[in-house]
Structure formats: structure tokens, C-alpha cells
């Protein structure tokens, strides 16, 4: 009898200590994630300028949104910029394959390719804005060497998005390359040896061993890139402060930011931020489902 009460007292003490240890992250979650999220949902149904109390307005914001050409344009731009994701993945897998060889200098290359990843996006945006300068930028000066008269990249509706895509690929290459490299190094050698014995050439080995073995990483990268891609803001804010020529580089987060903090249409901005949140949630949810299925099929 006395031992059980003693044990339960010990347990209670452990419970309380453990709760104290996790209390701060949990409080942080309640205050700075859960509460703002619920408030955002509420605010999305109101007319609110951030200064006076919100006034309930039903679905007005959402109805405005689907008719707002700027919102639709910024959504389109955001998705358009994601076209760089598959290009970046293909290049980084090729790089990882190259670096997976036993040879000198691969550590050096790994470092060089990784530098843009750790560089601040603000500084990167500034230096690429300069590199894309129509008259004196690096890109056009190099193009001039081979006799091409380059466009004024960031001021032209036709080239501003490709320019941003090039920069994003450059910045993200090192990260996906590194994850691919780690995945390649964990592929058992005997799989390739067995395939070679069966007469499978390099392409077939790549197609039927390498690609399936790195699929989890590909999947992870696609999902994280889409989530990050849906939140592009800094480079737009710095490189094309007005949202680009004819609004052609404004992204959804840039538009939310502008509506909320420039125009003080915080109710409307909240509604758009909820749509963004739902998008991210959906992508993450699909990832979890597909990931689970992937694991089953491997087991």
C-alpha cells in the first residue's frame, strides 16, 4: 500500500517536472501560432484596417478575392515561379551523381555549390538584381561576349520570371544536391553489381536503381520546395519593389504583405493568407499520405 502511494507520488513529480520542461514551447505554440491562426481565420471574415475593431462582413473578402485580377495574377506568378523546381532537381541529381565518384576535390566542390544556400536571400537578391542589370550587369556582359544583346531582365514582362527562376535554381541547387548525395551514398553497391552482371548498362542502372532509390528524397524536396515556393517574398520585395512590370513578378505573399501593411486592408489580407495556409496544409497532408503509401510498398 505504502509503496504504491510512494510510486504514484514519484510519478506525479515526474509528470509535473516534464510538463514544466515542455511548458514554454507549448505556451509559445498557443500564443504565437494557435491564437494568431484562429484570429486570422476570424479576421478573414471581417472588414478590418488594423486600427479600428474588425467588422463582420461574411464571405465578402473571399468573393472579392476570386474577382481580384491582382490576386489571380499573383497566384499565377507564384505557380509560374515553381517551374524552376523540376529543373533544379534534375541539375542537382546530375551534380550529386558526379560528386558521388571517388575523386579529388569533391569536398571542395560541395562547399562551393553550397555557399549560395547559406547566403542571406536579401544579399543574394541585391547581387542578382545587379547581375541582371540591363546595361552593365554580369549576365548581359557575358552574353555580349558571344554577341547576344541581352534584355533588360527585371524590367521586361517576358524575362522577369525566368530571371527569378534562374536565381532561385542557383540558390537552391546546393541544398538538393547535398540531400541527393546523402541518398546516393546509402544505395547498396551490390544492387549495381548485380545489375551489371545481368548486363544492365549505365542508363538502365540509373533508371531502375538510382531513380527509385532516391525517390524519397525527390519527394521530400518537391514538397519542401513547393511550400517554400508558395512563400516567395524577399527577392520580389528587393528586386522588383513595385511587383515588377505590369505586376508580373508579384507573388501571393508579396501581395498579402502589400495589402496588409501598405493599404491596411488587413481583413482582406487575412483572407488571402488563409488561402495560402490551406494550400500549404494540403500539400503537407498529401505528402504524409503518399509517404505512408511509399513506405508500405517498400516494406
Amino acid at each position: 500500500m505504502s509503496t504504491t502511494t510512494r510510486r504514484s507520488r514519484l510519478h506525479r513529480q515526474e509528470h509535473l517536472t516534464a510538463l514544466a520542461f515542455v511548458a514554454l514551447p507549448v505556451i509559445g505554440f498557443l500564443l504565437f501560432t494557435l491564437y494568431p491562426m484562429l484570429f486570422s481565420i476570424y479576421a478573414s471574415f471581417t472588414d478590418w484596417n488594423g486600427l479600428t475593431p474588425p467588422v463582420f462582413s461574411g464571405l465578402d473578402n473571399y468573393i472579392t478575392m476570386v474577382q481580384d485580377p491582382y490576386f489571380l495574377e499573383s497566384m499565377y506568378n507564384t505557380f509560374f515561379l515553381m517551374l524552376g523546381i523540376p529543373i533544379g532537381l534534375v541539375i542537382s541529381l546530375a551534380l550529386a551523381l558526379a560528386m558521388n565518384r571517388k575523386m579529388r576535390g569533391s569536398t571542395f566542390f560541395r562547399t562551393v555549390y553550397y555557399v549560395p544556400v547559406i547566403s542571406s536571400i536579401a544579399a543574394v537578391a541585391i547581387l542578382w538584381q545587379w547581375a541582371f542589370n540591363g546595361d552593365f550587369g554580369l549576365i548581359n556582359q557575358v552574353l555580349a561576349l558571344v554577341g547576344i544583346d541581352g534584355p533588360n531582365w527585371l524590367q521586361d514582362t517576358a524575362t522577369v520570371k525566368p530571371a527569378l527562376i534562374i536565381m532561385a535554381i542557383w540558390k537552391g541547387l546546393g541544398f538538393s544536391m547535398l540531400l541527393y548525395l546523402a541518398a546516393l551514398q546509402s544505395v547498396p553497391r551490390h544492387l549495381y553489381e548485380a545489375a551489371a552482371l545481368d548486363g544492365a548498362g549505365a542508363w538502365k542502372q540509373f533508371r531502375h536503381i538510382t531513380v527509385p532509390m532516391v525517390r524519397p528524397v525527390t519527394f521530400f524536396l518537391v514538397v519542401t520546395s513547393i511550400i517554400a515556393g508558395s512563400q516567395v517574398f524577399v527577392e520580389i520585395n528587393i528586386m522588383t519593389p513595385t511587383g515588377g512590370p505590369e505586376f508580373s513578378s508579384a507573388t501571393i505573399v508579396w501581395y498579402i504583405w502589400q495589402k496588409a501593411f501598405d493599404n491596411l486592408q488587413m481583413g482582406y489580407a487575412s483572407a488571402m493568407s488563409i488561402v495560402l495556409g490551406l494550400m500549404v496544409f494540403l500539400i503537407t497532408f498529401i505528402q504524409f499520405r503518399l509517404n505512408r503509401r511509399n513506405q508500405f510498398s517498400i516494406d
Binding site: 515542455v22 500564443l31 501560432t33 547566403s119 542571406s120 538584381q129 545587379w130 546595361d135 493568407s273 496544409f281
Partner: protein
């Protein structure tokens, strides 16, 4: 060029170390195997040469914008617009790196960034580590519910939270101070908790039970026993977190207006906007280069830890 020669020269053993690994299963004492080995080795070497050339070209593309920035930062204002372009500045204007300090609040920007990133990561790491210990090794009610709700928070993008967060901090008068950039994050970092918990799962429960029997409190166990064990994992996560806070831009641009509270990233963005009008590109590029340097140095010093923990991220994801 010469420095590149010097660096990888030492181990003359290397080629021999590589080849056995590559062919050992097939290499017998047979003479035919010997010729086959050398063909395979030659093929490997030619392949390496081609790959090295391709990777070098790629590396040039990767560093070109950075070198271009550095080169621009050392030019005269007129040199920037010279035709044909000056690939190497003529003359070298090192004074640009002196001018930046009086041309804008660069120094206070560095100070503010240090205050924000330092406070957030040092305090936040302590709380994250404590929480990860509790989640991994202690019994408590609703443990999984709490952990899963913290993880769920990762799914909510910051833009969805920023408007209510802003009005919250505005109502207590914290706008245009560093507090909104610090306070929400010192409560702990979920990603860090997740990885430390993962790391702690490989630590046997028995050592904690033994320490309990010896009468140690949980706090003592954490500081004397757990902390030393998870130190390498903490270090890697700490560096990554520090760089992320240091490089952050969206939160600072929402909260900070006055020059004296702006973080480094905002300061250089303002340099960019302000001095582009005056076409003082060398000044902008010098400031940007200075802003890149600290993280670059941290990366080069800790690159092994950083790269290892990033690679781990992928395998856990």
C-alpha cells in the same frame, strides 16, 4: 592557381587506395585480371577528369555572381559603367569598404542582428533542449498530443500568422523594437526539439534511471548527463538556427522602421534602394559583401557539422 595546386597535393597513396576498393572483388592474382584492372582504372581516371571539368565549370557559374559583387565593390563609380567592362577593377578602390560605415547604419545593423540572433538561439536552444529531454525520456500526461500539436505548427506558414502577430505586438507598443523578433522565438524551436528528441531516442533509459536512484533531480540529470551527450546535435542545430535568424527578412521588414533598430538585412536592402538612385553600385556591393561575410565564415569553419546535419534532415524527412 598555385594555391589550388598546393592544397590537394599531399597523399600520393590516394590512387592506390581508390583502385582496390573499386575492383577488389574481381582482382585475382591472374595476369589477365591485371590488364583488366588497369583498363578499368584508366576508364575511371578519364571519367574523373571529365567530371572534374564539368563540375569546375559549374563551380565558376556558382561563384561568378559573388565574385562579380566583390569586383564591383572595389570599382570607382564610373568604373562600373566602363565599356568594355572592367572584369578586374582599375583602380582598386578599397575606400569603398570604409565609406559604407558612414553611408548608413551598417554597424548598428550588425549589432541588432547579433542581439536578435544571439538571444533567440541561446535562450531558445536551452528551452528546446529541455523540452526534447522531457518528450524523449520522461513520462507525462498528453505527451503525444502535445508533441503532435507542436509539430502541426510547422505546417502553418508565417504569412498566415503575421497579421495577427503584428496587431498583437502593436497593441502593446512593441512595433519598431527588436522584441517581436525575439520574444516569439525564445520559447523554443520545434525543428530543434524534433531532432534532439530523435537523437535522444538512441540514449538508453537505464543511465537516467541509475542517476534517479542516486538521487539526482531531473534538472541535474539534464545538465550533467544529457546535455554533454547531445552537445554535437545541439551545436549543429544551433548554427543552422542562428544563420536562419541572421538571414531573416520578412519579420524585420514588418516591424522595424527606424534606422537605429533595423537588422543587417534591412540595412543592406535600404542601401540598395537608396544608393541605386545615385548609381553608387560599389557602395551597395561593398555593404552586401560585408553582410554575407559573417555567415560565410561560420559556414566555412563549421561546414562539416552543417553539411552532416543537413544531410540528416533529408533522411529524416
Amino acid at each position: 592557381m598555385s594555391s589550388q595546386r598546393v592544397l590537394p597535393s599531399p597523399p600520393p597513396l590516394k590512387p592506390e587506395q581508390e583502385s582496390p576498393d573499386h575492383t577488389s572483388s574481381r582482382a585475382t592474382s591472374h595476369t589477365k585480371a591485371r590488364t583488366r584492372l588497369s583498363i578499368a582504372e584508366r576508364k575511371h581516371r578519364v571519367g574523373n577528369a571529365i567530371v572534374t571539368i564539368v563540375l569546375s565549370l559549374g563551380a565558376v557559374v556558382m561563384v561568378a555572381p559573388l565574385l562579380w559583387t566583390f569586383s564591383t565593390s572595389l570599382k570607382t563609380r564610373e568604373g562600373v559603367f566602363a565599356l568594355p567592362p572592367q572584369w578586374i577593377p582599375d583602380p582598386f578602390v578599397w575606400e569603398n569598404y570604409l565609406r559604407i560605415w558612414s553611408a548608413g547604419p551598417l554597424l548598428t545593423g550588425i549589432q541588432n542582428s547579433l542581439i536578435v540572433a544571439g538571444t533567440v538561439t541561446i535562450v531558445g536552444t536551452l528551452f528546446s533542449a529541455l523540452a526534447s529531454f522531457a518528450f524523449a525520456k520522461m513520462r507525462m500526461p498528453f505527451k503525444n498530443v502535445l508533441f503532435l500539436s507542436l509539430l502541426a505548427a510547422l505546417m502553418v506558414p508565417f504569412p498566415t500568422l503575421m497579421i495577427p502577430q503584428f496587431t498583437m505586438f502593436a497593441s502593446i507598443g512593441w512595433v519598431d523594437t527588436l522584441l517581436p523578433l525575439i520574444v516569439p522565438f525564445i520559447f523554443g524551436n520545434i525543428i530543434m526539439i524534433f531532432f534532439l528528441r530523435q537523437y535522444l531516442n538512441s540514449v538508453p533509459d537505464s543511465i537516467i534511471e541509475a542517476a534517479r536512484i542516486d538521487g539526482a533531480s531531473y534538472l541535474q540529470i539534464f545538465f550533467k548527463l544529457i546535455f554533454p551527450i547531445i552537445k554535437p546535435a545541439i551545436a549543429a542545430q544551433f548554427i543552422l538556427w542562428f544563420m536562419a535568424v541572421w538571414n531573416d527578412y520578412l519579420a524585420p521588414i514588418i516591424y522595424l522602421n527606424s534606422p537605429e533598430v533595423q537588422t543587417l538585412q534591412l540595412v543592406i536592402a535600404n542601401f540598395n534602394a537608396q544608393y541605386a538612385i545615385q548609381t553608387d553600385y560599389p557602395l551597395i556591393m561593398a555593404a552586401s559583401f560585408v553582410a554575407l561575410l559573417p555567415v560565410l565564415i561560420v559556414f566555412i569553419v563549421f561546414q562539416r557539422q552543417i553539411i552532416e546535419s543537413i544531410a540528416l534532415t533529408g533522411s529524416k524527412g
